[in-house]
Symmetry: C2
Subunit: 204 residues, 2 copies
């Protein structure tokens, strides 16, 4: 019995190591925006870290009271499906059903490296973020939509220009979720986006 | 009174935005190890994200029961002082008192952008990690010490070789904290480090 137990414990350790070396790959998934002051593109791992701190710092502005620990856990895992699918810019139109199906398969593969209880917990966090139906998920989605726009506002619209994204497409894509999850953040951003339009930060 | 309140709310929003654009700089702080499969060096932002998931996946191996939410919050902020000081490899000898003094000044400056209650909470997390005196801090420190070594074990000892770090120095530097915070992780790593020594993964 002791040997059996020891073997199982060792197996779980091996799973945790395999898991962390698999999620390591999120560092290789590049996004469309560049970190301020850098020439390289942002990756989805550092983006996920930043969202956790952004959510934390805006906690008092959530549309409804939120469990911040839960928000942070969702944000830590929300992009892990991109390890298999790559990042898709939020402004891409069409193909989202297929994309989300592929991301779900990816997170099931990756979270499934861990023991079943941990895997189920992580998939549940991922699904909750995607569904956007809880106060925590709405707030987390608002934070996720806002952050790249804030970087663009401080980066002369770098990724909007590079990808030919117009002011109208940006507003159409991000306004709903930001207003719903963190209305004060939208109030902050709206005049700044308008000013950015005047300053030519957007694509055609 | 209403105007006064509104102005304060706006001020807090401005502080949160300033804060997130300041911590943005952690993406520019490079470490000594390279992410697996990439030619660039890892940065402290993506490293912080990975530690959160590594801690989560090893939760059942903590030396004592830990509050995982608290561990995650510590790991999210533990490297923020590097924005002013840069990363120092764990194997550097000497100068740690001055370095930690400078990092403390840095986190006070950066966390101090936020309202006082948030700033105090973040500084307290940072101090707790540094002191390493709670179960959560001991576990978080074990995770922080182990992760770059695990990357090196899977990267032919890239940063050990590049920086001339010997097997003995690695073990001396990481063993105590890993054994203390997550003993099973050290049991996993010890034979692998010995094997890596045989395979020439270390510097002189």
């Amino acid at each position: 019995m002791f040997l059996c137990f020891a073997s199982t414990k060792l197996e779980i350790m091996q799973q945790a190591i395999e898991f962390i070396l698999e999620v390591e790959k999120l560092k290789t998934v590049t996004r469309k925006v560049k970190p301020l002051g850098l020439e390289r593109y942002e990756n989805s791992a550092e983006h996920s870290w930043q969202l956790c701190l952004f959510a934390y710092s805006l906690e008092s502005y959530a549309a409804e009271p939120v469990n911040m620990n839960h928000v942070i856990r969702m944000l830590l895992v929300h992009d892990i499906g991109e390890i298999d699918t790559g990042d898709t810019m939020a402004f891409v139109e069409g193909g989202w059903v297929e994309r989300k199906r592929d991301e779900l398969a990816a997170v099931r593969r990756i979270f499934g490296i861990l023991p079943a209880d941990k895997a189920a917990e992580l998939e549940s966090l991922w699904q909750e973020f995607e569904a956007g139906e809880t106060a925590e998920a709405r707030f987390a989605n608002a934070i996720d939509r806002a952050m790249p726009a804030l970087l663009n506002l401080n980066n002369n619209g770098q990724s909007w220009k590079e990808n030919g994204i117009s002011y109208d497409r940006v507003v159409k894509r991000i306004r709903g979720q930001i207003e719903e999850g963190c209305p004060a953040l939208w109030q902050y951003m709206e005049p700044r986006l308008a000013e950015a339009k005047e300053r030519g930060f957007f694509g055609a």
